[in-house]
C-alpha cells in the first residue's frame, strides 16, 4: 500500500531526538489502512443486509393467509404445497369443527384430549401424523397425562418424590404464619412450613365458597401469597407451567435443597374448605411471579 502523505525530507525532534518524518509515515500508514478497510467493511455489511428478509416479508411468511415468500416443499396430495405455518391445539371435536380451507393448508393440530396430532392438507383433508391415544375397551378414556383438566390443573402428572416428603411434612407442622422462625436454609421442610403457614395466616381464603368462581379467586390469591412468602424468605419460587402450557392455578414451582421442584399445593371442591398440601409433581417448570405481599 502506498502512503498518500508525501514527506520528502526528514526532520529531527530537537527535544527527544526522534525522526519526525518516520513518525509521520507510521501515522499515515495506519490512517491509510483504515481508509481502505472501511469501504470493505461497508460493502460486507451491505451484502449481509441484502440477504435478509424485510419485516413485511417475514410477517407475510408467518401469516396463515396470503402468499408466502417462504414456500416449503410441495406436499403430495396438497393442492398448493404452500403450508400455512400454523399450529393449533384443542380437543378432537374442536378440530373437526374448525373451519378449514386452502388458507389453512399445512395446519398442524394437537388434540389435547386424545394426544394425537393431525395435519390439514387442502383439499384432501386431515391426516393423522403421530401420537398414541390411551383408550379403554368399554369405559371412559383417560385424558393424556399432563393435559388440562379444565380447572387450571393437570391430569395424571407423574409423581416425584425427590423431596422425601419433607415439604408435606413442613405443611403439616406449619405454624400460624408464613414467617417461620429462624433463618432461610433452603430446605424442603422450611418451604413446607412457609406454604402451610401462609395458608394458616390467611384462613378466610380457604373457607368453603358459594361458587367455583369465588373459590378460584381465593385460591389464586392464596397461591400468590404463598409465592411471596417463599420469595421473602429467600427461596426461588414462582408459578408452575404445566406440560400443556397452561400456568397452573393450584401448583407452584420452587427450588428446594438446590433442586427445582413442583408442588401441587391445593385440593378440594369449593363447597368444602380448601386444603393446603404439598404433593410433588413433575416436570417442574417455573414461571417467575412476584406473588402477593402481606
Amino acid at each position: 500500500m502506498k502512503d498518500r502523505v508525501d514527506l520528502s525530507h526528514e526532520l529531527t525532534d530537537q527535544t527527544y531526538g526522534r525522526p519526525v518524518v518516520k513518525a509521520l509515515r507510521d501515522l499515515a500508514r495506519v490512517v491509510n489502512a483504515q481508509a481502505q478497510a472501511l469501504p470493505d467493511l461497508a460493502a460486507q455489511v451491505g451484502g449481509l443486509a441484502s440477504r435478509q428478509l424485510s419485516l413485511p416479508q417475514i410477517q407475510q411468511a408467518l401469516a396463515p393467509t396470503g402468499s408466502t415468500p417462504l414456500n416449503p416443499p410441495a406436499i403430495p396430495g396438497g393442492s398448493s404445497g404452500s403450508g400455512s405455518g400454523s399450529v393449533k391445539y384443542g380437543t378432537h371435536s374442536a378440530r373437526l369443527s374448525f373451519a378449514v380451507s386452502a388458507s389453512t393448508d399445512g395446519l398442524i393440530w394437537y388434540e389435547t384430549d386424545r394426544a394425537l396430532t393431525y395435519q390439514y392438507h387442502d383439499p384432501a383433508g386431515w391426516r393423522y401424523l403421530c401420537g398414541i391415544m390411551a383408550v379403554s375397551l368399554l369405559g371412559d378414556n383417560p385424558l393424556p397425562p399432563g393435559s388440562d383438566d379444565g380447572s387450571g390443573g393437570t391430569t395424571g402428572l407423574p409423581a416425584d418424590s425427590s423431596d422425601g416428603g419433607q415439604t408435606a411434612a413442613g405443611v403439616a407442622a406449619a405454624g400460624p404464619t408464613g414467617h417461620p422462625a429462624g433463618p432461610y436454609d433452603g430446605t424442603a421442610l422450611r418451604a413446607g412450613l412457609i406454604i402451610g403457614g401462609t395458608s394458616n395466616e390467611w384462613p378466610l381464603l380457604s373457607v368453603a365458597t358459594p361458587d367455583q368462581a369465588t373459590r378460584d379467586s381465593n385460591q389464586a390469591t392464596l397461591l400468590g401469597r404463598i409465592i411471596w412468602h417463599l420469595l421473602t424468605d429467600g427461596y426461588t419460587a414462582g408459578k408452575q407451567r404445566n406440560p400443556s402450557g397452561i400456568i397452573s392455578g393450584d401448583k407452584i414451582a420452587l427450588v428446594e435443597d438446590g433442586v427445582l421442584r413442583a408442588m401441587d399445593v391445593f385440593t378440594g371442591v369449593y363447597t368444602a374448605p380448601l386444603v393446603t398440601q404439598a404433593i410433588q409433581v413433575s416436570p417442574a417448570n417455573l414461571v417467575p411471579d412476584p406473588g402477593i405481599p402481606d
Binding site: 378432537h92 373437526l96 386424545r114 394425537l116 393431525y118 383433508g125 386431515w126 391426516r127 393423522y128 401420537g131 398414541i132 391415544m133 390411551a134 383408550v135 379403554s136 375397551l137 368399554l138 369405559g139 371412559d140 378414556n141 383417560p142
Partner: protein, 164 residues
C-alpha cells in the same frame, strides 16, 4: 372407548389399550394389531411374573382377553389351573381346556419261556452205559409287568401366564 368416527383420514392412528397392554392400529378401515404386537390368547412361561395388566397366571382364574377381528372385543376365558396341576404341553388340533390325566406307558415283555437245559452225561461205574439226566425241557413264568403313570423326565418349574 375406541373412537368411532375414524376414516381413511386417520389411517395409521395408534391407540394403547391400557387395560390389556395392547397397541392397536387403525388401518383406515378397521382395527388391527399394531406393528410389533404379538396379539393375545396364548400361554407363555416366565421365570419372573410379568408386570402390567396384560397377563394372568394360569391358576384357574377367569379373565377376558382382547380380540381385534372383526372388531375389538373382550372374550372370556378360564385359565387352566396349572399351578395346582403342573402339566407339560402337548400339541393337538384344538385347545380344549381339559387337563388330561396321565396315561401309564404300555410295556411289552419279551417271551419268558426258557430254553431246554443242556443234556448232561452222568457217568459212573464205567463201563456201564452212561445215563442222561436232565434232558427234559422246562420253563419259568413271571408275573405281569406294570408301570405307574407317575414318571417325570427332567423338568424346570416355570410360571405359566396367559396373554390377555
Amino acid at each position: 372407548m375406541l373412537p368411532t368416527d375414524l376414516s381413511f383420514h386417520d389411517a395409521g392412528l395408534l391407540v394403547w389399550m391400557f387395560e390389556y397392554g395392547h397397541a392397536l392400529r387403525w388401518s383406515g378401515a378397521k382395527w388391527e394389531w399394531a406393528p410389533g404386537e404379538t396379539g393375545s390368547g396364548y400361554i407363555q412361561d416366565f421365570v419372573v411374573a410379568p408386570t402390567g395388566p396384560g397377563w394372568q397366571l394360569c391358576d384357574g382364574t377367569t379373565v377376558d382377553y382382547l380380540v381385534v377381528d372383526p372388531v375389538p372385543a373382550a372374550v372370556s376365558f378360564t385359565t387352566p389351573d396349572l399351578v395346582t396341576n403342573p402339566v407339560y404341553a402337548r400339541s393337538n388340533a384344538a385347545y380344549t381346556g381339559t387337563i388330561n390325566a396321565p396315561v401309564a406307558p404300555t410295556i411289552t415283555a419279551p417271551g419268558v419261556t426258557g430254553a431246554p437245559s443242556a443234556t448232561v452225561a452222568v457217568e459212573s461205574n464205567a463201563p456201564v452205559t452212561p445215563a442222561s439226566v436232565g434232558d427234559a425241557t422246562h420253563t419259568h413264568t413271571i408275573g405281569a409287568i406294570t408301570a405307574a403313570a407317575d414318571g417325570e423326565p427332567r423338568n424346570l418349574d416355570v410360571l405359566p401366564f396367559f396373554r390377555r
